[in-house]
């Protein structure tokens, strides 16, 4: 709430008009209701959830304050509930959504406020789109655009004839949304409940907590970056630099209250406790800085679209087998090709490869070299009102996979029904193996008004 208030004050101070504004012109209001319920297909682990439901209601308005200034304001009510083990864990929140002022001068544009910014050129699998926090409470089972949340940024763009220079700045370090304990997708899964079942550990398990040492808004912890984009001979390119904090899925754990652990998988943790020593009840997490240097391009090749991204991280966070965090430089690239066949089939293939510098065997889950393929196939029927789509990811190195077949039907332009499956698995010791029991079938509705 403090963030929202501070942001609004800042917006007012910067954009306060020198003369009174009569009223918003061309005011436009829209809303969106999105709801999805999912049922687990397997019940093979203790403490596992049976189902979840997730709903959002977004209300958004925008209008012109003057010819150059646009004002946008939005709020979103969200509820995410996990059901299982005879209980429901519910998280309901009202958030400030996209709320900003946008000033468009002749060759420059300044936007201040809670906004969603997209960097990078590739599609679903992007490694340069790091300016907004993502909702990872259901891992990556939401689409990228559904995972992204707006964040308060000051964004300035200068448009030259064939180049655009962009700078971004925020005093609030970006932090992805994750559950810590007590859901099938949480960072520590149902560990607490598992440990509470061990009589000797019951009281300790109950007191187990995370200290996230979340930095407050400050210049010292500010994030900033710049991006240069242009076009050369029908090739759109971009070069970017972002001074960020940890954007990895993993927490950077600086202190873990159990010593002597050496895991090949987090699911081993309760059995590994027998040879471990408990030294406290607090897992301490910090948010180390990570500079991300990026290059990207987009062009067409024959009748196909061709896209690529390269990212170099100075301090990417990984997890060690003793559950402490470790930072390593690493680089990664993604190459993508998309094509629409004459019979209406759409295919989008992306290949990615990552290399961790200074890798050693103590790193949990992640190999030194990691290569993966993402494929999206989609075909539409009934004048495009019915879409059948398959998203698939296969990790060539670790052999873990993720499949998401989905059917979408537009009942009306404003109402879309969808249903599908999330299937993921991997060999023992891989990251997706943790979520082996999380296969689910889901059904949902999206309505715009």
């Amino acid at each position: 709430m403090k963030k929202a208030t501070g942001l609004l004050v800042l917006i007012f101070m910067v954009f306060a008009p020198s003369r009174p504004v009569k009223a918003l012109e061309n005011f436009d209001f829209k809303g969106e209701l999105w709801a999805r319920g999912a049922l687990h297909l397997k019940q093979q682990r203790p403490y596992q959830d049976n189902s979840l439901d997730h709903e959002t209601l977004l209300l958004q308005g925008e209008g012109d304050l003057s010819e150059e200034i646009l004002f946008k304001a939005g709020t979103r009510l969200e509820r995410l509930a996990f059901h299982g083990n005879g209980s429901t864990r519910e998280d309901t929140r009202l958030e400030l959504w996209e709320t900003y002022l946008d000033y468009r001068g002749g060759s420059y544009q300044i936007t201040l406020g809670n906004q969603i910014i997209r960097w990078g050129k590739t599609d679903e699998m992007t490694i340069l789109d790091n300016l907004n926090p993502q909702d990872l409470r259901e891992l990556m089972t939401l689409r990228l655009e559904e995972r992204k949340h707006p964040w308060p940024w000051l964004r300035a763009q200068y448009f030259a004839s064939n180049l655009t220079l962009e700078g971004v700045f925020t005093i609030w370090p970006v932090w992805h949304m994750k559950e810590d304990f007590g859901t099938d997708w949480a960072a520590f899964d149902h560990l607490k409940a598992q440990l509470e079942d061990i009589p000797a550990l019951k009281s300790w398990a109950r007191s187990l907590k995370l200290d996230k040492q979340r930095p407050g808004p400050s210049l010292r912890d500010a994030e900033w970056g710049f991006r240069l984009t242009g076009t050369f001979s029908s090739v759109d390119w971009e070069a970017s630099f972002l001074h960020a904090h940890n954007r990895s899925f993993y927490y950077y754990i600086t202190s873990f209250p159990i010593k002597g652990l050496w895991l090949n998988s987090i699911s081993d943790i309760s059995s590994a406790l027998s040879r471990a020593i408990i030294v406290g009840n607090t897992i301490r997490i910090s948010r180390p800085e990570d500079d991300i240097l990026g290059l990207a391009f987009e062009t067409t090749w024959g009748e196909a679209g061709l896209r690529g991204e390269f990212a170099y991280h100075t301090n990417q966070v990984f997890l060690r087998k003793d559950l402490y965090g470790v930072r390593k430089p690493c680089w990664q690239y993604v190459l993508g090709l998309d094509y629409q066949f004459m019979n209406g089939l759409y295919a989008n293939l992306q290949f990615s490869q990552r290399y961790i510098q200074g890798w050693d065997k103590s790193i949990l889950f992640e190999p030194r070299w990691d290569s993966g393929l993402f494929l999206r196939l989609s075909k539409t029927y009934l004048q495009d009102f019915l879409e059948c789509r398959l998203d698939a990811y296969y990790d060539l190195t670790t052999r873990m996979y993720y499949l998401n077949p989905e059917v979408r039907y537009k009942i009306q332009d404003e109402y879309t029904l969808f249903m599908g499956l999330h299937l993921l698995d991997g060999p023992a010791g891989t990251f997706f193996d943790l979520y082996d029991a999380n296969d689910q079938i889901y059904v949902g509705l999206k309505a715009v008004f």
Partner: protein, 257 residues
């Protein structure tokens, strides 16, 4: 989301200058070039609606703003959808260079990203309608073969009837099409499309056309899917020519509303 080739505006904005060589016998290629090079003013902007009507008579409506500008190198077309809500603010920019090269960009509000569009998208349906992107593009005669079949009246207007087929298979989803081109103004007022098996599959018909500010303009038209028995009406609600549109409208920056 489907990708757009935007030169469909050709069907909306069909200005006319009196042909100088009307008395001469025109070849099929001459007629095709006359259609391609028909002047459209310095620029134009229009508000257009598209009505989709299925075999049961149910209607769905799309509204859009379209701006077109010619410069010495290219024709630029900018489009923004105004409704329905699910595609509102989706925007497109198409640049058709005079040498036949094309560049297209699409902005999808949900993704917040301007995406460069590949040519393989042009054979697909335009926002659920019976038009494909190919149907709406400005066809460069270099890529097609033409044969003058006959001359006959369409809705009381004398027309050339051309058979057209692509020089390369990748240029069209159709095996061939037959088009009726008005002698006065070189407007394409009717097209019969034949699929790759040679079956008549779709029909385009101009329903009303008239001069606006001295430029012949198709006010309403209809595309019928003859197999599935549904059709799409394209109606120009408002159009203005030579309004002095600024170059900044036709930039990728402007795609984001």
């Amino acid at each position: 989301m489907r990708v757009f080739t935007l030169f469909w505006i050709l069907f909306l904005i069909l200005p006319l200058t009196e042909p100088k060589a009307q008395a001469q016998k025109l070849s099929a290629q001459d007629i095709a070039w006359a259609v391609y090079n028909r002047p459209v003013g310095k620029d134009s902007e229009s508000y257009t609606q598209m009505i989709l009507i299925d075999r049961r008579g149910h209607k769905k409506e799309r509204k859009m703003y379209v701006a077109v500008k010619d410069d010495p190198k290219a024709r630029k077309t900018f489009m923004r959808f105004l409704s329905p809500l699910d595609i509102r603010n989706t925007s497109f920019l198409s640049i058709s260079y005079n040498n036949g090269k094309e560049e297209q960009f699409l902005y999808l509000p949900a993704l917040r990203r301007v995406r460069r569009i590949a040519g393989s998208f042009r054979f697909h349906r335009f926002v659920n309608s019976d038009f494909t992107y190919e149907d709406l593009e400005r066809r460069c005669p270099k890529k097609y073969n033409y044969q003058l079949m006959k001359e006959e009246n369409y809705k009381a207007s004398p027309c050339y009837v051309l058979k057209c087929w692509p020089k390369k298979r990748k240029y069209s989803a159709y095996q061939y099409w037959v088009e009726w081109v008005t002698k006065k103004g070189f407007l394409v007022v009717k097209v019969d499309y034949y699929d790759r098996r040679g079956h008549l599959c779709k029909r385009f018909e101009a329903l009303e056309w008239k001069p606006i500010q001295g430029y012949w303009t198709i006010i309403s038209s209809k595309m019928t899917d003859l197999k599935r028995k549904h059709y799409t009406l394209l109606i120009v609600d408002k159009i203005r020519y030579n309004v002095g549109l600024k170059n900044k409208i036709f930039t990728r920056r402007n795609l984001r509303p």
